[in-house]
């Protein structure tokens, strides 16, 4: 089974090797005449203005974190959704809805807290 992959590995090795060789070759063979203009980020382009490391508002992180949490909690919904039909056919429709309602209500309380505390308030 491993044998099936050998051509692939050879291809990866060749590609990597070629790229690295060419880069190194250019560095060794190529002429080096650095000057100030050449060392600017955009040679014969626009001069960069300001720092690339601008401070973002901390709100940005807050929203990102809230997003991660709510986004990932939905992971529990997938197995529920997949097995939903089996439960309906197995005659457990009520139970399966109760369970997911409890889960959603708990998430909802988190969201209510978040909104009331201004976690999603961009204005201030």
């Amino acid at each position: 089974m491993f044998g099936d992959f050998i051509p692939l590995f050879i291809m990866i090795a060749l590609a990597t090797g070629l790229a690295l060789t060419l880069l190194k070759a250019a560095e060794i063979i190529g002429p080096k005449r650095p000057n100030r203009i050449k060392r600017t980020p955009y040679e014969s382009g626009m001069d960069p203005i300001g720092s690339a490391r601008e401070r973002y508002s901390v709100k940005f992180y807050l929203v990102a974190m809230i997003f991660i949490v709510f986004d990932v909690e939905v992971v529990f919904m997938y197995p529920w959704a997949v097995s939903f039909h089996d439960f309906i056919e197995g005659g457990a429709a009520f139970g399966v809805m109760v369970v997911v309602t409890i889960f959603t209500v708990i998430l909802l309380i988190g969201l209510v807290y978040d909104i009331k505390k201004g976690g999603l308030d961009f204005e201030q």
Binding site: M1, V58, I66
Partner: protein, 101 residues
Amino acid sequence: MEVALNWYLGLSAILFSIGTLGVLLKRNAIVLLMSVELMLNAVNLTLVALSQSMGDADGQLLVFFTIAVAAAEAAVGLAIVIAIFRRKLTVDITEINLFKF
């Protein structure tokens, strides 16, 4: 075409080791956080592979919890890192050394 279980276990062991080394060698708190996440995801791979090969759903069940826990940990961890950055203007863990023996 099926890949043998050992390849998955090997890959996840390598990923886990990379994560461990990252935690031990790096000094930036954010990179440490990423390394820890890498460790958790390496374990997820192990669990899914084992679960698949044994035809038992319990491993995959744990993976769901791990994903959720990893998200919660990431959120809390980032919040703590932001709090410490505001106080000390650095996230280099060698400069966070208030406590001594």
